[in-house]
Symmetry: C2
Subunit: 331 residues, 2 copies
């Protein structure tokens, strides 16, 4: 996803210049191998080529270094914005959490798609950002290409969100779609998803509902002002118990089985539920769909692609532009 973003960014330079009068420069890129750092700006084409061909950004010509960690990069580099896209870790949120707190400490605005730190330590990050006066955008943590957090916080700012209900995991939705459309068993649908790279070799994180649980925790905090953490999710039931017969029976009655995350009056909950084929929640394949119930606008539904490197990179870019517009454009 980081690579997808580095590929997209150069295609938006005109837009950034024209609309926001900024000329972004990437001064550092870090991965687990080390970093490439150049205060004068890295060559993004060369960065992509280095990563693709050699697998390590530390091997970037001249400016590559293998003796430095992500936190050290953030500490040493003078940047306006940090983009954190390391993989989600729901055990201790690292290394993402340390990256985020260091970036904020350094006064960098932060854009991220890393769910772990927000699912485990939402208030810690938000409070740190507020204290430092930096902007924080994390639409990429929920919904892939779908800007759910901004929709609620920015576009519906006069409304109170009363509940959230959604299909938030693309992998399980792909599997359930195959089971519904082709009458496959879970095992066969999962194998098909794995062969396409849609499901991981260890699919537990998606299949068991952990990913969906992280996302509803983030939405509960971000758009409903709940102070909850992953531990507060009352029920997390994944799709591993779903039988072909159940799916068929639901189908005959006009329903699909979907993995639904809910933030209601009280409980946060993840479990498979029947959804009518005609419901806006009944989206197929890799789509996500979320219904925000609000006090004035009532129900607002947003649907979009829930995963994929380009899709998430798109959201990182949207968020970066929002940071630029909010904090960096002088009127």
């Amino acid at each position: 996803m980081g690579q997808a973003f580095v590929e997209i960014l150069p295609t938006r330079l005109d837009l950034l210049r024209r609309n926001y009068l900024v000329e972004p420069k990437v001064v550092a890129i870090a991965d687990s191998s080390g970093a490439a750092i150049n205060p004068g700006g890295l060559d993004l084409g060369l960065a992509i080529k280095t990563k693709r061909q050699k697998g390590k950004i530390a091997l970037y010509p001249k400016f590559g270094r293998s003796d430095i960690s992500g936190v050290e990069v953030l500490d040493q580099v003078d940047a306006d914005v940090a983009i954190e896209v390391t993989p989600t870790n729901v055990i201790d949120a690292e290394p993402g959490l340390s990256h985020m707190l260091k970036a904020i400490e350094m006064g960098d605005h932060l854009v991220t798609s890393n769910k772990g730190p927000f699912a485990l330590a939402f208030s810690k990050i938000v409070d740190a950002a507020e204290k430092q006066g930096v902007e924080l955008r994390y639409n990429g943590t929920v919904g892939g290409a779908t800007p759910i957090v901004s929709l609620a916080k920015r576009c519906l700012a006069g409304n109170t969100v009363l509940s959230v209900r959604g299909v938030l995991n693309a992998t399980t939705n792909y599997i359930l779609t195959r089971m519904t459309k082709e009458d496959l068993t879970l095992e066969r649908a999962l194998a098909s998803a794995q062969s396409l790279g849609i499901a991981e070799t260890d699919p537990t994180y998606d299949i068991d509902g952990i990913d969906t649980a992280c996302k509803i925790v983030i939405l509960a905090n971000a758009i409903m002002n709940r102070k909850v953490s992953y531990r507060d999710v009352e029920e997390i039931t994944g799709i591993s118990g779903i039988k072909r017969e159940e799916v068929e029976e639901a189908k005959e009655k006009g329903f699909a089985i979907k993995l639904i995350g809910t933030v209601g009056d009280e409980a946060l909950r993840v479990r498979p539920e029947r959804v009518a084929f005609t419901s806006p929640l009944c989206v197929d394949e890799m789509l996500n769909s979320v219904i925000l119930e609000t006090d004035l606008a009532k129900e607002i539904t947003i649907i979009g692609r829930g995963a994929g490197p380009t899709e998430t990179a798109s959201t990182i870019l949207n968020d970066l532009i929002d940071v630029i517009r909010t904090a960096m454009v002088r009127r």
Copy 2:
């Protein structure tokens, strides 16, 4: 809708104080009878009561005046934000257009739900606002409670919108839903809508697709940078020719007939089309649904209530808050 907004505003004072440190004061309210003006702030409860019981805001005690027009009010009153909610007029856009241009000329930020001026003179309004350096928000012109313009412009700012396709008129969608669900003729479904106050006594504006055409013109300008006007809509076919048999035949095949507005590669078009029951465009009753096709995020769909005083007042409020956040909150 103006009344609904005046009723909602007092319920959001805490939110405005807490989140944006502002204390809004309504210094003038105008209708076709005249205006109530008090630089110290009007009593909104009394304003509602006056309008409900006597039908004329000019009869507001002490501060009511019948000798003044909307444009004169805007000219004489010192305000930060003007909210224009007069009815849409697609002949010459008045009195809305004059109100808007006067508000902008006076340096007021502008929030509006009035489609006419934007469908007929989009660039004129936007250019004037830009020249004066005032903020302009018009989510209320399209989609009722659904913040379509902001979703595209703010939340998807890194994306280019390639096409727009949507159900944008709540009245015709209500009628088509009744025809589909209850096998009614158009005449009977329309009569039912009229008896519920959903369709006007003269329903031409909705039924003939004029309202939908205005909305796609606004979306084409606002989110696709097209320089088009109402006159540029290539086809405007309403629903008056829809026969019960057609609806039934579509239904048997799993489709509903919906009035669809499209902004494609070239043409702007309004016409009834078949939509699969399982499509996110296939929404019922008073809902609106819009699919934005974008270059990076691909298809993003938003669904929400397409009409109603509270729904549109909700959008006016969201837009007002966005103006406050953008232009009036000092960091």
